[in-house]
């Protein structure tokens, strides 16, 4: 019961933090490096949360939200990863790869949410023409939908993780997953190093 409550609170918090990525503020509170340790602390595994968060952050550095491109969601990745470990009972390595997939799979959902808002434009224009100049409720509606979508998404992935933990024979794959997981920091470091190396090289 308490575990379920923790998942719901964590998912709601992820939804709120997720708003920071596009909708409001953009202080980077939605980045996995922050979401990971916070959710880890909330769920009793701060070290693993921080580790999952920073590793996902290092890999997600590769994606930049230029123009209308929807990058994979770092918030969804970190939240799904941490909860897959803490609530789903999966080892950190599998939780990490599950988080990686969850972040990638959230992009199409985000795309659909953005596309759905296109139809609001004509309604808002009509509303303004009719003398109602309040735009606040539309922004609130957009944020509410985003928040709810993220929270529901995280709960679904946690349920999936809990289901995976029951799969027979899955533990046979753990040594390989653990080894691949141990190489992820180096993959992330490569992205971090070459991002700036390329900038300096171009400048020269």
């Amino acid at each position: 019961m308490i575990a379920a409550l923790k998942v719901i609170i964590s998912a709601a918090l992820s939804g709120l933090l997720g708003l920071d990525s596009v909708q409001a503020g953009q202080f980077l509170l939605s980045r996995p490096a922050f979401v990971g340790p916070v959710l880890g602390w909330l769920n009793g595994c701060p070290l693993e949360g921080a580790r999952l968060g920073i590793l996902l952050e290092l890999l997600y550095i590769d994606f930049i939200p230029l123009g209308g491109v929807v990058p994979p969601s770092g918030t969804a990745a970190a939240a799904a990863g941490v909860l897959a470990h803490s609530a789903g009972g999966l080892p950190p390595s599998l939780a990490f790869f599950l988080g990686l997939a969850a972040g990638r799979a959230f992009a199409p959902i985000e795309y659909r949410l953005r596309a759905a808002r296109s139809s609001w434009n004509s309604v808002i224009e009509e509303q303004v023409k009719n003398g109602d100049l309040s735009l606040r409720r539309w922004l609130a509606k957009a944020m509410l939908f985003e928040n709810a979508a993220m929270a529901a998404y995280i709960i679904c992935w946690t349920a999936l993780a809990a289901g995976l933990a029951w799969l027979p024979g899955l533990s046979r794959l753990y040594p390989g997953m653990d080894f691949a997981y141990s190489l992820m920091p180096w993959l992330g470091l490569s992205g971090l190093y070459f991002r700036f190396r390329t900038q300096i090289y171009k400048k020269a």
Binding site: A33, S93, L135, L183
Partner: protein, 276 residues
């Protein structure tokens, strides 16, 4: 008016849509200025509809355009309305210019620098648990949070400063298509950030390989040490190869996972750790 516009500018991307991008957030942020400029409700309606049209730029740099448009609307309200004819053109020109500058500075440089700051703070606090995934060193919660929070503070200081400065600078030269572009030496700022980011990257990579060598210092067989240093180098090469082939980091991560699971899970090779 400025303060209300400033706070509302934090919601510039709320309501982002594929038809008109940031139009809703932009109109919402412009509203305090428009309400002050146009006491007449019909004119206010017309102005709000003007700003509900397509708009897209880098969110932090949108303040320059907001300030500019507020200045332009104010001048148009005080003088001939014909001045408003230049509004869409100026708005579009500024949005494109600031998108290019903002993307380079914020997304391309400052954002990855927050991760670097986090890693360096953790390294200063003696925490390398992120680098060696099986290593369970005790670490305090304040240190775990200090890393990301210091990175966020550094980034947000830039973001908040430019949001406020942009609003002021844009308003001061409202109506000009090159408004505010000269209020900072953008190429120099970009170069400085690139250099700082590169130096931090080098420091982090050296620290990482230094730690790896130190943790394997007791290795009796040189082949072991070579393998444990060589593997991370191989991963770096794989990342570069994936990029060269136009594939994302997911491809490299997936390949590593598949090969590892095959080798250690299916073919039952003896797994080993990168450190002693």
């Amino acid at each position: 008016m400025f303060l209300r516009m400033f706070f509302r500018s934090f919601f510039i991307q709320a309501g982002w849509n594929y038809e008109r991008f940031q139009n809703l957030g932009f109109a919402f942020s412009m509203q305090p200025a428009l309400e002050k400029i146009y006491p007449d409700r019909e004119k206010l309606k017309a102005a709000l509809l003007r700003h509900l049209q397509l708009f897209n730029t880098q969110p932090y740099m949108a303040s320059f355009v907001l300030g500019n448009m507020a200045g332009l609307e104010e001048r148009a309200a005080a003088g001939p309305e014909a001045r408003l004819k230049s509004l869409p053109g100026v708005k579009q020109a500024l949005a494109s210019s600031y998108a290019s500058i903002g993307d380079r500075i914020f997304w391309g440089r400052l954002k990855p620098m927050t991760t670097q700051i986090c890693l360096l703070v953790w390294a200063a606090g003696g925490f390398y648990g992120w680098l060696f995934t099986g290593l369970d060193t005790p670490v305090s919660m304040p240190l775990l949070l200090a890393g990301p929070l210091l990175g966020i503070a550094f980034y947000s200081a830039f973001a908040v400063y430019w949001r406020w400065r942009g609003l002021k600078a844009g308003y001061a030269c409202g109506g000009e298509a090159s408004c505010g572009l000269d209020c900072a030496d953008w190429p120099r700022l970009t170069r400085v950030l690139s250099t700082a980011g590169f130096l931090m990257s080098v420091a982090i990579v050296l620290l990482a390989f230094g730690m790896l060598a130190a943790l394997n210092g007791g290795s009796e067989r040189s082949l072991d040490l070579a393998l444990k240093i060589g593997l991370p180098l191989g991963v770096l090469a794989l990342h570069r190869a994936a990029r060269a082939l136009g594939r994302s980091v997911f491809f490299a991560a997936g390949l590593l996972l598949a090969v590892s699971v095959l080798a250690f899970g299916i073919f039952k090779l003896q797994p080993f750790k990168l450190y002693l």
